[in-house]
């Protein structure tokens, strides 16, 4: 039972926040178990041109990428990194062949730090010296490194209750048959104890996941041993099978996708008609990642400050608790609402998602958008048969080119939505677009502005391009085509820079990182003769031959025409002469002048005049070189 399941008692202001940050009450503890056996260090690709890439490197890359993402987005989650099949050992139980990687000022299972990420990503170079690699399971010895690794992992995950923390172990390995070298009763025994160890961990609420690394010529067979270990049912095995990528990058992308748990926003009921209600889960696949919230610190001690909010009655000055009532001014009086009334106003529908009908896809215009979409995937958890209905509707909508219009009635933000069916799209690197529906938030009439009509001239026809001009434009489009453009191929330069700076400062580095802005146009490509030619052609077609010259002339005439500017400047210059500015600046008398007088100085020297008085003064001081 959720205390406030619909969020109706929350303020408006934070309901929006909620949308972007989703409720993530639970933390996550992850232990990465990385196989470090010599097999992991054999080249993964046979291609000679490529750099010697090993599966070990792939795993390290994936993990450090994940850590970087995590430190930005979910810094409360805790991680531990643990190698097995190592020469050295380092773990609390002092078990052989298991090495828990760690840095200073950090517990083994803890939040990721800048230092951890830095040291971990560069581990490859001296791994052999400091930790070393060797097969942990060899015939003749009863040593079982997988068993040990699972044990260490489980011990690391002992802290925290499973109620509010989800615990996972992720195994990276390329060995599908770790007990292949042993035979007979020993083998049976080892498998049995290992499986029992895994089951014990799972019984404690720890989920074990496998990230198999495979080679094109050598398929990873999950069924040999790992399907039992991670507890896959027979039919699931087929779904789980890693699709072997042709290229190493494909595998890396696949791994990356699987390293994060799917977090649903909520499970909702989708009412198709009055008595047909199916269950669907919603997911936020696309949400803007913003730089984290700031924290106020005491500049002397650098310790965080605690903020205290108090409500004060404006009339009496009395201290209040959070007032339960709100008001809105209306015709010179205040109309008072209770929070209950407000939540009632917002409760326009009792059904979470209700189908209203279908429309052809071309009714969904490009401007019918307000916020990032939400993904919907069916679930049979509470109502059997939901998925079947969902799939049937999904297919029909795709086949008939229709989208569904529905009312999304959550009380925090009830809204009309479009449900657009998305077919599954696969590529060599796995799933590109998952199958399901995307919920697109539609605007209401008051949210749409008729901007086009703003500048209409009465009784005159707007000029249109001629066929020849359109032809030239088409030619240009062909020249400026972006091959293989994919959405989200750019990383956000502002965000990269933000965290780059923080990382550098956190590690105490002096050098600020240089972040490449990937969003710049391809100037080289534009300068290619044929593209340049197409551009020029189009320019002449729409602007005429002498456009640049005309522009320059009109600019010149414009600047000469602005008498007012000239006049303003002249008065400013005259006014400036009244004072000895250097003197004023030296004696700190600038603040005695009026803003208008300060602005005279700025205008006279062609400086910007925007800002508050202090800003103006500091600008003048800089200009005077003080």
């Amino acid at each position: 039972m959720d205390l406030d399941p619909e969020g109706i008692f929350r303020d408006d202001s934070d309901s929006d926040n909620d949308f972007f940050q989703e409720r993530e009450a639970s933390k996550e503890y992850v232990v990465y178990l990385v196989d470090a056996s010599p097999k992991m260090f054999s080249p993964a690709v046979t291609d000679e041109d490529e750099k010697m890439e090993t599966h070990f490197h792939v795993a390290i890359n994936c993990i450090s990428q994940a850590l970087k993402t995590q430190i930005i987005g979910r810094s409360n989650d805790e991680v531990a990194i643990c190698f097995f099949n190592t020469r050295e050992k380092k773990n609390l139980q002092n078990l052989n062949g298991v090495y828990v990687f760690d840095v200073m000022e950090r517990e083994s299972l803890d939040k990721p730090t800048a230092k951890l990420i830095k040291e971990f990503s560069s581990i490859g170079e001296n791994f052999m010296n400091s930790i070393g690699s060797q097969y942990g399971i060899i015939s003749g010895s009863r040593e079982n490194s997988i068993y040990n690794a699972l044990w260490v992992g489980q011990a690391l995950l002992r802290k925290g209750s499973t109620k509010n923390v989800s615990k996972r172990m992720l195994i990276f390995t390329n060995e599908d048959d770790p007990f292949g070298t042993v035979t007979g009763a020993t083998k049976k025994d080892m498998i049995r104890t290992t499986l029992q160890r895994a089951k014990d961990a799972q019984d404690l609420g720890i989920s074990i996941e496998l990230l198999p690394l495979s080679r094109p010529d050598e398929k990873f067979d999950v069924s040999v041993m790992y399907s039992d270990l991670i507890g896959l049912e027979a039919e699931e095995v087929s779904r789980f099978l890693p699709s072997v990528g042709e290229r190493l990058e494909d595998m890396t992308t696949q791994l990356k996708k699987r390293m994060f748990t799917k977090r649903k926003i909520r499970s909702i009921w989708f009412s198709i008609s009055n008595d047909i209600c199916i269950e669907v889960n919603t997911y936020a696949l696309i949400r803007p990642t913003l730089p984290g919230a700031i924290l106020w610190l005491d500049s002397v001690t650098n310790l965080p400050l605690k903020s205290e909010r108090s409500f004060i009655c404006a009339d009496t000055g009395a201290l209040l608790h959070e007032p339960p009532k709100r008001f809105h001014p209306y015709r010179s009086e205040s109309v008072v609402f209770s929070t209950h009334e407000l939540s009632q106003i917002k409760k326009v529908s009792n059904v979470q998602l209700r189908l209203l009908g279908f429309k052809p896809l071309d009714c969904l215009k490009d401007y019918h958008n307000l916020r990032p979409s939400t993904f919907i995937f069916p679930s049979d958890e509470e109502i059997f048969g939901s998925t079947r209905i969902f799939i049937a509707l999904h297919r029909s909508m795709l086949r008939l080119n229709r989208y569904a219009v529905a009312f999304y009635g959550i009380s925090a933000h009830p809204q009309l939505v479009a449900l657009v069916a998305q077919e599954e799209i696969m590529s060599s690197s796995g799933q590109v677009e998952p199958p399901g529906m995307h919920m697109i938030y539609l605007p209401y009439s008051d949210d749409i502005r008729q901007v086009e009509e703003l500048h209409t001239a009465v009784d005159c026809v707007a000029p249109r391009a001629t066929d020849e001009q359109i032809e030239k434009a088409s030619n240009l489009l062909r020249r400026m085509d972006l091959k293989d453009f994919s959405v989200c191929q750019f990383s956000n330069p502002a965000l990269q820079r933000h965290y780059g700076i923080l990382e550098a400062l956190a590690l105490g580095e002096d050098e600020m990182p240089d972040i490449k802005d990937e969003t710049w146009p391809d100037e080289e490509g534009l300068a290619r003769p044929r593209t340049a030619h197409a551009l020029e052609d189009f320019k002449i077609a729409v602007y005429g031959e002498n456009h640049d010259q005309e522009e320059a002339e009109s600019m010149a005439s414009k600047s000469s025409a602005s008498e007012a500017t000239k006049k303003r400047k002249a008065t400013a210059e005259a006014a400036v002469g009244k004072y000895n500015w250097a003197d004023l600046a030296d004696n700190g008398k600038l603040k005695d002048l009026t803003v208008a007088e300060l602005k005279h100085y700025l205008t006279a020297h062609n400086l910007p005049v925007a800002g508050k008085k202090e800003v103006l003064i500091s600008r003048i001081l800089t200009h005077l070189g003080k």
Binding site: M1, S75, F260, Y283, G292, S373, E381, L393, R402, A462
Partner: protein, 701 residues
């Protein structure tokens, strides 16, 4: 009339043929005026009705004619009387002549403001335009429209027409309708006028922009195809969400006699150091810290300014790509529109050429935008052509922001084809779904598209502003329920449903839904299901008859308990449930107590909260018997039992049993469905009673 203010005359047809939609006309027009009371207090409003029984206008007195046109309100600063007039429109008897009304309205504006006033002047015509307009004494109707247009043009007036055409199979002659449409179109061509046709009451509510927002450009400057080829454009917001108004916090501390009390609440923030909570740290001693993992990095604004990302203002085309490459669900934000610089023919032609080429080749452009100098980030987005269908509007582009790599979460989902065959629809089922999708069509060929975003009002805001007005009159008023036209937004159209009944029936018989017996649904679900059966109570579930005696009690009780606190939960609960000023308190008290106990148990550590929880549970039980709400208690007890019976909290239930806290039986409260025997046996017998009926309604198939 100052700049930015608007003079508006509403021209409303109240003739017999409009009576069916007059309630919606009343609401949309009064909404318009209400919003002016809030957002445009100095706007001026006049009201003219036509199709009335009587006649009352200046032109009739001066020159004769102009019958059945009544000036209900002269142009004056907006006030609440205008709302009252609009909410109680008379039903007229004559057939409206919209041209007469337009002329009367225009005459009023000219007389009031003359030619010197440059303020915005607008006429807003609401009519069904089904009846013939009178032929003028000289010239044709067309000539007359030309003259009127010229006049309007000279005085800078705008005309917005909303034409209601509910169903075409009416008695009205098609010839007259065609003629009227032609005249109205003439207006849109010859002057600043707009004609909107609506076919249902819901669309009528959305047809009039009830709030005037003067658009501001986001960017003015070059759209750079390359360093040498640039197009001058202006960028505006095309969509922008109108938010639920932010209400101020209300303080009731001021004495009721204080007529000038603002009732406002000020918020005060204080920052205190953790080491010494007594010490308040002054603002100048604070510094911003940015989190990086567990570390917090302090950076002063000056340092930050020196290193942060500072792109130059510009809008650059990165290139073009196939439209199919950019899927619809990647659109991130509200939408911008790029229009060529007004009056710049070269820019208009260049935009037109690119837009049409994009349309023909099915391409879109990818842009990198920095709208303002000093903006801390860049926006990458997609530009799609927006080909104009009106002759006097230039071609333009829509712009949608796209996500960056960091904004995407790549979760993997199973393929539908990998699901077991029991989850796959068979042929008949697929056909049933196909038929449903086909038949439940909101945009059939022969009819106007229903629920177009452009004509769909926001039901929440509609309801809020209506309630605001109502409450300013009757402070005790209740939240009104959604009326029929707003319900068309939140619920399917019953007409459409009955039309598609066989298809829906077939769909239902084809598919079977069953609840998962392992998962007991939570109480939250049960509540929802019940209400999904009937939506009648939406917004009306707090109907509280207020009477004099109840008020007396309210005034005499010195301190009203509003929530259950941690200190004396039992007393709070008892005080709250005993409140008689509104029946909602009983419900609220029970709910709060349930939540409170729930929390206690959820946070218990080795049973340390059990005594308190027991105490509360006893109080809750007592309260539920007293208030005759046995089901509330029984369901709750079942619920927590179901939830925790397998966890270590199970010993709490043993404790309950030992304290002989049982379900409430019939003998204790008549409403209970639990016999004494069953009550005693709990928690051994664990069937749910309360909501089995609602479940069956959902799942009957």
């Amino acid at each position: 009339m100052a700049r930015g203010r608007e003079a508006l005359i509403l021209l409303i047809d109240v003739g017999p043929s409009t009576h069916g939609v007059l309630p919606e006309v009343e609401s949309v027009c009064s909404m318009l005026v209400q919003k002016k009371l809030i957002f445009g207090k100095s706007d001026e409003v006049g009201i003219i009705l036509f199709g009335t029984k009587d006649t009352d206008n200046d032109l009739e007195k001066e020159v004769g004619g102009y019958e059945h046109v009544v000036v209900k309100r002269n142009i004056k600063v907006v006030d609440v009387d205008a709302v009252d007039i609009l909410q109680n429109l008379p039903r007229g008897t004559g057939n409206g002549d919209f041209l007469d009304a337009v002329i009367v309205g225009m005459d009023m504006l000219i007389k009031k403001y003359g030619i010197t006033n440059k303020g915005k002047q607008r006429l807003c015509l609401v009519t069904d335009a089904k009846h013939p307009i009178k032929a003028p004494s000289e010239g044709t109707k067309e000539d007359q429209v030309h003259i009127v247009c010229q006049q309007m043009q000279d005085h800078g007036m705008r005309l917005d027409c909303v034409i209601i055409r509910e169903n075409s199979s009416e008695t009205a002659s098609q010839k007259i309708i065609d003629e009227n449409d032609f005249l109205l179109r003439l207006f849109t061509e010859k002057t600043k006028a707009k004609a909107i046709y609506v076919s249902n009451p819901t669309a009528l509510l959305g047809a009039l922009r009830t709030r005037n927002i003067s658009p501001v450009t986001v960017y003015r400057g070059d759209l750079e195809l390359s360093s040498t080829m640039k197009i001058k454009v202006w960028v505006y917001k095309k969509t922008s969400e109108e938010k639920f108004p932010t209400l101020k916090k209300f303080s009731d501390k001021a004495p009721p006699t204080d007529r000038y009390a603002t009732h406002e609440v000020k918020m005060d923030f204080e920052y205190k150091s953790i080491e010494n909570p007594e010490k308040i740290v002054p603002p100048e001693q604070r510094i911003k810290g940015y989190r990086y993992g567990p570390q917090v990095v302090p950076i002063s604004p000056a340092e930050w300014e020196a290193v942060k990302f500072k792109p130059e203002k510009s809008v650059k085309v990165l290139g073009f790509t196939d439209a199919s490459n950019i899927m619809r669900h990647y659109y991130m934000k509200d939408v911008n529109i790029f229009i060529p610089e007004p009056g710049n023919t070269k820019a208009i032609v260049a935009c037109s050429a690119i837009a049409r080429a994009m349309k023909q080749m099915n391409k879109v452009a990818i842009l990198r935008c920095v709208w303002r100098q000093g903006q801390g980030n860049v926006v990458v987005g997609v530009l799609t052509p927006n080909i104009s269908c009106k002759d006097n509007i230039p071609d333009s582009f829509c712009f949608n922001a796209l996500p960056f790599a960091e904004d995407i979460r790549e979760f993997q989902f199973p393929s539908f084809s990998n699901f077991p065959s029991s989850w796959q629809p068979n042929e008949q089922q697929q056909e049933a779904a196909d038929n449903l999708v086909k038949m439940l069509n909101l945009a059939p060929d022969d009819k106007e598209e229903a629920l177009q975003p452009d004509f769909t009002p926001n039901p929440v805001l509609e309801r809020f502003y209506r309630f605001l007005h109502l409450k300013s009159r009757l402070p005790e008023a209740e939240v009104p329920s959604l009326d029929r036209s707003l319900k068309r937004i939140t619920e399917p159209d019953p007409e459409k449903l009955s039309e598609c009944k066989p298809v829906i029936e077939n769909f239902r018989t084809q598919f079977e839904l069953k609840e998962n017996p392992k998962k007991k649904k939570s109480s939250k679900r049960a509540w929802r299901e019940k209400s999904s059966v009937s939506d009648e109570e939406v917004g009306a579930d707090s109907k509280v008859p207020e009477n004099g005696s109840a008020k007396l009690i309210e005034n005499s009780s010195p301190e009203k308990v509003q929530k259950i606190g941690d200190l004396n939960p039992v007393q709070d609960f008892e005080a709250m449930i005993a409140r008689r000023d509104s029946s909602k308190w009983v419900r609220k008290a029970i709910k709060e107590m349930q939540d409170y106990i729930y929390n206690l148990l959820e946070n218990s550590y080795e049973g340390n909260t059990y005594p308190k929880a027991i105490e509360c549970l006893v109080a809750l039980r007592r309260g539920c018997i007293l208030e005759q709400e046995p089901k509330e208690f029984n369901r709750y007890l079942h619920h927590i039992y179901e939830k925790w019976k397998t966890t270590d909290l199970v010993d709490f239930f043993n404790l309950i049993a030992s304290k002989s806290i049982t379900l409430i039986s019939k003998s204790e409260a008549a409403d209970s469905e639990v016999t004494e025997e069953e009550a005693k046996n709990f928690p051994v017998k664990t069937e749910l009673y309360g909501d089995s009926d609602s479940r069956s309604q959902i799942l009957t198939s």
